[in-house]
Amino acid sequence: MPDRYCSTPDVLVADVADGSSIAVAPDYSGVAIAATRALIRKQARRLHLIAVPQSGLQADLLIGAGCVGIMECAGVNLGEFGLAPRFTDWVQQGRLTMRDATCPAIHAGLQAAEKGVPFIPLRGILGSDLLNERPDWRVIDNPYQHDDPIVLIPAIKPDVALFHAALADRAGNVWVGIRRELMLMAHAARRTLVTVEAIHDGDLLTDPTLAAGTIPAFYVSRICLEPGGMRPLGFSPAGEQADAPMIEAYVAAARTQAGFDAHLAEWLA
């Protein structure tokens, strides 16, 4: 295998510097939980976590473990399992710098980075207090129409895109299927780190059906084969359901920081 393959998630994230901005996937897409554990193990600090556009367990784990300095997102919760306890607690204690967004603004910011342009305009948003908290979102007059204010979203260029995908081939191409937000993240980010369920024999790009859902290798920095790398979250391409008892146990434990710490220690062991 070429040298972009890593033996463990710990090697995969070894170079992620404190203070890096990291784009991560939403729970319905490809969340790299095993790699998240590796970030916690290496005691990453002051991460600027960018949820694309929302996060759940992954953000809650990183926040509770003290890895996150800035949380940029359209929302954080645990889906059917309710509020994200550490996120909620840390924000309420004023321990987390929030950069609240709305879903399409995060997609648009990444698209601006993908296109190498400084901003992309977006409809809506006007009148929202989000504009007060996001001085980087500017309101200009649409040059194409008289008296038509419109919001500009600046490019979001993450240092790292981190996600879990179904397949990679030996050349380093990564198959994400319809989960195109993962491709967008890879296009926009400086470096892309991926855990995968399985290795595909052959070239993903020479099969015309697989190619349609493939991120070409030249966007991908490192890959780690890590089957189940999304557990306890579900992974729909693999038909895997979320491990509900495990998430419920997490929610119960993480109600307090002490409970979270104990749960995490056990989980990392």
């Binding site: 319905y28 556009p53 509020l83 609240d100 603004a105 648009a108 809506g124 038509d148 319809i178 195109r180």
Partner: protein, 249 residues
């Protein structure tokens, strides 16, 4: 949550709310439902049963998503005018239909933090028929002014805004929103409630119709659809909800 309300005649509050929202969206081209919205999802599924040409999208349910361009497609779709209805909720909702999904108290160190605005700040402006839904009807939720405006109920005339709030559905009432005066008007009170009770539980003032009517009870056909095909589909989107909380057995 799952029992038949004794004040009602053979249906639960959840069933009533799903049916009311299904009625409000029947006949539309494309109805989308956000993640974590089991009752709106049931409503959309019901609307599709009642008007088979209706397309529905339920975020987070692979079976009910026809998107192939990643997370942005729903939002692009809305801006293209290909989405007719969406459901939003709020930790707080005020009399101008502003919704708060962010925080109570100070933004930097809030008394209470909610998950976040998600797509609300955008979809509220672009989807022609937005239905506000919050089951709990209390002065804690329905306030005079929200602490944080995630998405604004109304906009100045010069703001491009093909969409906006049209109705509010709660366990106590169905209201209509009139963007002109920027104010809710009572449509019906839900069976079992009076307008006086409603007023007490609502932190903002609203306009009244000439005569206060009660929401028509679910029909046998509506209930049969909800308990049959809709429930069967809903299991794919909300396994936990459909199992534990949704309908009378």
């Amino acid at each position: 949550m799952s029992g038949v309300d004794p004040a009602r005649d053979g249906y639960t509050t959840e069933e009533l709310l799903a049916i009311v929202m299904g009625r409000l969206t029947t006949g539309l081209g494309h109805i989308a439902v956000g993640a974590l919205s089991p009752l709106p999802a049931a409503a959309a599924l019901l609307a599709r049963e009642l008007s088979p040409r209706t397309e529905i999208t339920i975020l987070g349910s692979p079976r009910h998503m026809r998107f192939t361009d990643g997370g942005r497609e729903l939002f692009d779709c809305a801006a293209q005018g290909r989405l007719d209805a969406f459901f939003l909720s709020g930790g707080q909702i005020d009399g101008q239909a502003n919704i708060n999904l962010v925080a109570i108290g100070d933004y930097v160190k809030p008394k209470r933090r909610f998950p976040g605005s998600f797509g609300s700040a955008y979809l509220y402006h672009l989807v022609p028929k937005v239905i506000l839904f919050r089951q709990e009807h209390s002065p804690r939720v329905f306030v005079e002014h929200v602490d944080f405006v995630s998405a604004a109920g109304t906009s100045p005339r010069n703001v491009y805004r093909p969409g906006g709030p049209k109705h509010l559905v709660t366990e106590m009432a169905v209201m209509d929103f009139d963007a002109g005066p920027g104010r809710f008007r009572l449509n019906t009170v839900q069976p079992g409630y009076t307008e006086a009770e409603l007023r007490k539980q609502t932190g903002f003032t609203y306009a009244l119709p000439a005569e206060v009517r009660t929401t028509p009870a679910p029909t046998a056909e509506e209930l049969a659809l909800l308990r049959g095909p809709v429930r069967e589909e809903l299991v794919h989107a909300y396994p936990k909800f459909a199992r534990e909380a949704y309908l009378a057995p």
